[in-house]
């Protein structure tokens, strides 16, 4: 088993996280990320009877909320916590390409 991730794997994770990394960081993360994954892999050794245990709190049914309106924030409060705003809109740098 390799003791580090490939350069491509690290760069792919960086791309998903939208972060830029330097050459020295890349080499460091190849090793560190691999160590984290190996530690997490230990969880796989635990024997569980039911897959559900790994999903969510299944022992108790979720609480449902009635469809009734409650208090909301004012637009002023909303934009106060944003680094930049334009009128009542929160302003961020344009992101090209992806549209969901």
């Amino acid at each position: 088993m390799d003791d580090k991730l490939s350069r491509e794997e690290v760069l792919h994770v960086a791309e998903l996280a939208r972060i830029a990394i330097s050459e020295s960081e890349l080499e460091k993360y190849q090793i560190q990320l691999k160590q984290i994954i190996d530690s997490v892999d230990k969880i796989k050794e635990v024997e569980v009877d039911d897959d559900k245990m790994l999903i969510a709190n299944w022992s108790k049914e979720t609480t449902l909320r009635e469809d009734e309106c409650g208090e909301m924030l004012s637009p002023k409060d909303v934009i106060n916590n944003a680094p930049r705003h334009s009128g009542n809109y929160i302003e961020v740098p344009v992101v090209i390409g992806e549209e969901s």
Binding site: T62, E68, M72, S86, I90, E91, P93, E98
Partner: protein
């Protein structure tokens, strides 16, 4: 261009008609001031927790039922992780592993051929905030963040833009009639994406897929799919290949344009949402929801046609929910349904459009409408006369017969009165009478016109024609 076999699958997002958002109690609304319909949950503040809206579950059960889906009894939510400013939590809460509905279908008809469009699955998820791109800036409005959605995914089972269009029309009709969504494409409460690929033979594997996103109308879904099939065919004809990609339909140029090339598919790193425990759907919940489903469009059409309504009229009535609900109230009555449908779709619909009113906002109660139909059926009222008194019929509360009397336009059904008019016309138009007698059939139309003119439109047309023919002998 060679012939290829197209394969099309459609994904539709529909906003649910609830009072509040899916995981918070802020208002689910459209067209309000930017960032005025939010709270800390919608904005994804640290430490906030989602609680599922009961009505979202009810509407999703309802949608699964009208789309003939099987309903999952035990489910959970998943996180779909991605970094993009339209979602401040950096994940969207959705259902990946346990969609509430699966294995459903919708029946469509294209050029007289019926086909089942199979639904792979439908799941519940939250909408993202709305982003508007302005030069180097993107403006965010979180009013839409957390609006409940269902996403409905078909199998790749459609073969043309026409089929996709028919499917979307059917879907919209079903969801609208069951009060699940208002399905307004122009306001984004219904959004469609289409996956298109082509191949040479049935036995070949599926071709490379292009996804057409955010198409602005059902008509454009049909057009954009046909355009995409054409584009791919030309490429293959020239021996070219292409990468899986996302395209959008540009209404101005009438064609699809490239948005981005998908590399190896999206790496969303789904994992179960730990903040929402399991959701259980019981028989009792399903029964309660099913009881609220009104009569659906196909059943309405069938009933109307059985009652003697022409098919084209039946289809038109069903396109208008309030007219159709009104028409349903008549079904128990013994009346002439063909005349009823003609009245509703003709002068009455024109009035409603002009006044921007619903039929229920007029004074035309069921009893008055039945009286109106009767007056039309026995020719007491002609369609020409109806136009003159229509406003009174729809705005007054007096009986139809009183309106006819007071307007002085009562249809002359008195034989001798009509005969007098006919004789007068024959005497005044010897030329036309001669024409008729020498075999010019058109002359009778002219004479009939004169009779109606002379009687100021009040002669019963059928009687007048009979008497005219008689007098011309």
């Amino acid at each position: 261009m060679s012939n290829y076999i197209p394969t099309i699958g459609v994904e539709v997002h529909v906003e649910l008609k609830t009072n509040t958002k899916i995981f918070s109690n802020s208002t689910n609304g459209y067209g309000e001031m930017a960032n005025s319909l939010t709270n800390v949950i919608d904005l994804g503040y640290p430490g906030t927790l989602p609680t599922l809206n009961k009505e979202v579950l009810n509407l999703a059960i309802k949608a699964a039922t009208v789309l003939n889906c099987k309903i999952r009894r035990e489910m959970h939510f998943d996180r779909k992780n991605y970094f993009y400013p339209d979602n401040s939590k950096n994940y969207q809460i959705t259902q990946s592993r346990t969609p509430i509905g699966y294995d459903g279908y919708v029946e469509i008809e294209v050029n007289g051929v019926k086909k089942r469009i199979e639904i792979e699955e439908m799941h519940i998820e939250e909408d993202t905030c709305k982003s508007t791109h302005r030069g180097t800036k993107t403006l965010l409005d979180f009013n839409r963040a957390g609006v409940p959605l269902i996403e409905i995914v078909t199998k790749p089972c459609m073969a043309s833009g026409e089929e996709a269009k028919a499917y979307l029309e059917k879907l919209r009709e079903l969801l609208f009639y069951s009060d699940i969504s208002d399905c307004k494409i122009e306001e984004g409460s219904m959004r469609a994406d289409a996956n298109v690929s082509i191949r040479k033979n049935e036995s070949d594997p599926f071709g490379t897929k292009a996804e057409i996103k955010n198409i602005g109308s059902i008509t454009n879904v049909g057009i954009s799919i046909e355009k995409e099939i054409e584009r791919q065919s030309k490429l293959y004809d020239n021996g070219e290949t292409f990468k899986p990609q996302t395209r959008r339909y540009d209404d101005k140029i009438g064609d699809t344009v490239l948005m981005r090339v998908k590399e190896t598919g999206n790496d969303y790193r789904y994992f179960p949402e730990p903040d929402i425990p399991f959701v259980y759907v019981t028989d009792e919940m399903i029964e309660r929801v099913v009881a609220t489903i009104p009569m659906l469009p196909d059943e309405r059409r069938k009933l109307y046609i059985e009652k003697g309504v022409p098919e084209v009229n039946a289809n038109k009535i069903v396109q208008n929910r309030s007219l159709s609900d009104y028409f349903n109230e008549l079904l128990e009555e013994n009346t002439n349904f063909k005349i009823a449908s003609n009245l509703l779709l003709g002068d009455i619909a024109a009035y409603l459009n002009k006044e921007e009113k619903l039929i229920t906002e007029t004074t035309l109660t069921k009893d008055r409408f039945l009286e109106l139909i009767k007056n039309m059926e026995d020719n007491t009222l002609t369609s020409k006369n109806l136009k003159d008194i229509l406003n009174k019929i729809l705005e007054d509360t007096s009986s139809i017969s009183d309106i006819i009397k007071s307007s002085g336009i009562e249809n002359i059904t008195d034989d001798s009165a009509i005969r007098d008019v006919v004789r007068k016309v024959i005497e005044a138009n010897p030329g036309s009478v001669e024409d008729y007698k020498t075999g010019h059939d058109r002359a009778i139309k002219f004479l009939m016109g004169q009779v109606m003119k002379e009687s100021k439109g009040s002669a019963n047309p059928k009687m007048a024609m009979d008497i005219l023919v008689e007098e011309l002998q």
